[in-house]
């Protein structure tokens, strides 16, 4: 049972819908339950596209290969079905939903997971929300703010982590590609991932990042380097350190798309 990968990507090719060429050119990736994998790569390498294809972003289409999550074919599922199956993507650029409080949004998301006719107990929900916020050292008033509306970069990250804490995914895909991520936001993400991972060691994390510095805070089991839509090297944390020293140039020379 534990030998089966929680996430198994094979030969995945994908593109922006309606465009002519693939961004992902045959990605292979296998993650076991409870592992943390980091995907690193230069800008435009396709690492963020991989995250979006896993989450089911409608602007992207898979043209070949497969993505299995706990044995299920993710590519056949709607984004909400993927979420309900246990996939969570922390957005690089979380979207503002004016007029909707974080608390209301999370309540709706939890309600959506229940069977028809089942009602989420509001008292239980409040308790859960408070408990999750306490775990993450967040002010209770934060949940009353409107989802990402006028949020700073750090607040947006905080909101993503809170949602992750409430929804308790089996697989968290952290799309942290943004090279502009400030140290505060980076710490929020790292603290959140580490706290939730300590609470639930079975949670698997796919961490997508441009810079090695994120890995000073989160220790991955496996580091992959992605260049031009392919994983060109996989190994332990030492791979990231090699990148720190020599950069991505070595792979660019080595690979032909």
């Amino acid at each position: 049972m534990n030998d089966r990968p929680i996430l198994h990507v094979t030969g995945l090719r994908a593109r922006v819908a309606d465009e002519d060429s693939d961004i992902l050119n045959g990605v292979d990736l296998a993650m076991r339950r409870g592992q943390i994998h980091a995907i690193m790569g230069p800008n435009g390498s396709g690492k963020s596209t991989l995250a979006k294809v896993i989450a089911g972003h409608p602007a992207y289409e898979a043209t070949a290969g497969s993505v299995a999550f706990q044995g299920e074919d993710l590519l056949e599922m709607e984004p909400d079905e993927r979420a309900q199956a246990g996939v969570f993507m922390a957005f690089q650029y979380p979207v503002a939903i004016p007029g909707v409080s974080i608390a209301n949004f999370l309540r709706t998301a939890l309600q959506a997971r229940l069977e028809d006719g089942e009602e989420l107990d509001l008292f239980d929900f409040q308790e859960l929300l408070m408990e999750r916020m306490e775990l993450l050292d967040m002010e209770p008033s934060f949940a009353q703010r409107h989802v990402n509306d006028g949020f700073s970069g750090g607040e947006k990250k905080r909101n993503e982590i809170l949602q992750m804490a409430v929804l308790k995914p089996a697989l968290a895909v952290m799309d942290e590609t943004d090279s502009g991520l400030d140290i505060d936001a980076l710490r929020i993400v790292a603290h959140g991932v580490n706290t939730l991972k300590a609470e639930n060691p079975d949670m698997s994390v796919l961490l997508i990042t441009h810079y090695q510095r994120m890995l000073n805070y989160i220790t991955p089991d496996v580091v992959h380097v992605m260049v031009k839509g392919r994983i060109v090297e996989s190994g332990g944390p030492e791979v990231a350190l090699g990148l720190e020293e020599r950069g991505y140039e070595q792979y660019r020379r080595m690979q032909v798309a």
Partner: protein, 450 residues
């Protein structure tokens, strides 16, 4: 026990001079004279056509067949007062309300009850049937009814209303009296193919405070059924007034309102227009800022589906200097619904240091829905801060994906976005249960989306 006499037989009423005369029979002479004069104005005033800028998108001649429409009016033959059962649909809406300082119930253009807290009666607050107040000879009613705010000369329907109004509400809050809960008017129209003409006259004296919620409901109708309202709102120096209109008529309902707010020095006169029901809704709102320090927040919310047609025609008249007005109208339109917003800020000569803002935002939920937004400015002073903006957009696919990635299906995600979009308006006016009630009505409408 005396035997009740059978109701006197009479010819079916129509929109004509006889009905005006008959209606005025029981009124004091100043009022019946005002009605007759209004009728003359009505006859002289052409029906607005789509050739006029203000009615370009609402073809009233086609949408509202005035021939054959039967006015609901109150005259001697109807008798006075007498408790009438509150219709079930209206009762349900009233049961949803939070506490009130006073309540008026109007059925088919006739006030069937008006209640006000004893403590407020003792303080001199007047809440009454407008017709009764006029008959009683209230000097404020005589001075302000259809004279300064919505006179007969204000247009075809203002004239028709001034000639034929059957009843409505008179509310006067004396100097310095503060009401901590809203006054609520619950209106119901039951007779298909009729026209109801009501009026609301609210006068807030200096340093007083009052909020008023005007809700209208009806069943669905197979024939066009008109509810026409003339709303006259006066805030004297330092007073604070909030007026909310919630239109939840059934299909076939045609809601037509003329609203004017007159805000004097340092007073606040805020309005919220909510349009959810009816087949057609047209609101003409004119806010007049008459003294320095006057302020009007003007909010609007509309959510149309089917072939609903909502048309808002607003104006912000800055007559005095140093006043402020801020308008925000937001609408969501589904299926083949149509939304029209036309708004103008007029800064009159000498109205320096005016702050005036106007925003209209529309969210289209279907390819067939149409929103027309026409913001405008007319500025005759040089030291002002004014802005206007309009947007018409569709559901943001990034936002929908974001919500779906958290487990909401597409329909749920759309509902969340629409509710949030419209809800922004409600957060601006925190008033005893209004936001909750309107939110529930929006949810009910969203729940039946195809």
């Amino acid at each position: 026990m005396t035997q009740m006499a059978p109701p006197r037989q009479r010819a079916v009423r129509a929109l004509n001079r006889d009905t005006v005369m008959e209606t005025g029979l029981v009124d004091p002479s100043w009022l019946s004279a005002r009605r007759e004069e209004a009728w003359e104005t009505y006859l002289r005033t052409p029906l607005p056509s789509t050739r006029s800028e203000e009615w370009r998108y609402t073809d009233i001649a086609r949408m509202l067949p005035l021939e054959g429409i039967v006015p609901n009016s109150v005259d001697a033959a109807d008798g006075a007062g007498g408790a009438r059962a509150v219709p079930e649909g209206l009762r349900r809406a009233m049961d949803e309300d939070e506490r009130s300082a006073g309540r008026v119930v109007e059925v088919d253009g006739r006030v069937v009850s008006a209640e006000l807290e004893d403590a407020l009666v003792a303080k001199g607050v007047v809440l009454d049937s407008l017709r009764a107040a006029a008959r009683r000879g209230d000097p404020v009613v005589e001075a302000l009814l259809a004279t300064r705010a919505v006179p007969a000369t204000d247009g075809k329907f203002a004239a028709l209303n001034a000639a034929l109004w059957s009843d409505g509400v008179f509310l006067r809050v004396p100097r310095g009296v503060l009401l901590d809960k809203p006054i609520r008017l619950s209106r119901w129209v039951s007779r298909p193919g009729t026209a109801t003409f009501s009026r609301i006259l609210i006068v807030a004296d200096e340093m007083s405070q009052v909020s008023f919620v005007d809700e209208i409901l009806s069943p669905d109708f197979e024939s066009v059924t008109l509810a026409n309202a003339a709303v006259e709102l006066f805030s004297h120096r330092g007073a604070q007034v909030q007026y909310v209109s919630i239109q939840r008529m059934g299909r076939g309902g045609f809601y037509l309102a003329n609203q004017r707010t007159l805000a004097k020095r340092d007073s606040t006169l805020d309005t919220l227009n909510v349009a959810l029901g009816g087949s057609v809704g047209r609101v003409d709102l004119n806010a007049r800022l008459l003294g320095p320090g006057a302020n009007s927040d003007m909010l609007g919310l509309y959510f149309g589906d089917g072939d609903q047609h909502f048309d808002f025609n607003t104006s912000q008249d800055h007559v005095a200097a140093d006043a402020r007005s801020d308008l925000l109208y937001k609408g969501a339109l589904d299926e083949a619904a149509r939304g029209v917003f036309r708004g103008i800020i007029r800064v009159h000569e000498g109205a320096q240091r005016t702050d005036a803002y106007q925003t209209n935002r529309n969210l289209l939920l279907s390819d067939r829905a149409v929103a027309t937004s026409l913001p405008n400015l007319e500025i005759e002073a040089d030291d002002v801060r004014c802005s206007h903006g309009a947007t018409v957009g569709q559901l943001d696919t990034e936002a929908l994906f974001y919500l779906m990635s958290r487990g909401l299906d597409r329909a749920q995600a759309e509902r969340v976005v629409v509710k949030g979009f419209l809800g922004e308006v409600l957060t601006r006016l925190p008033l005893g249960g209004v936001a909750e009630k309107v939110t529930r009505a929006i949810e009910a409408k969203l729940a039946v989306r195809g």
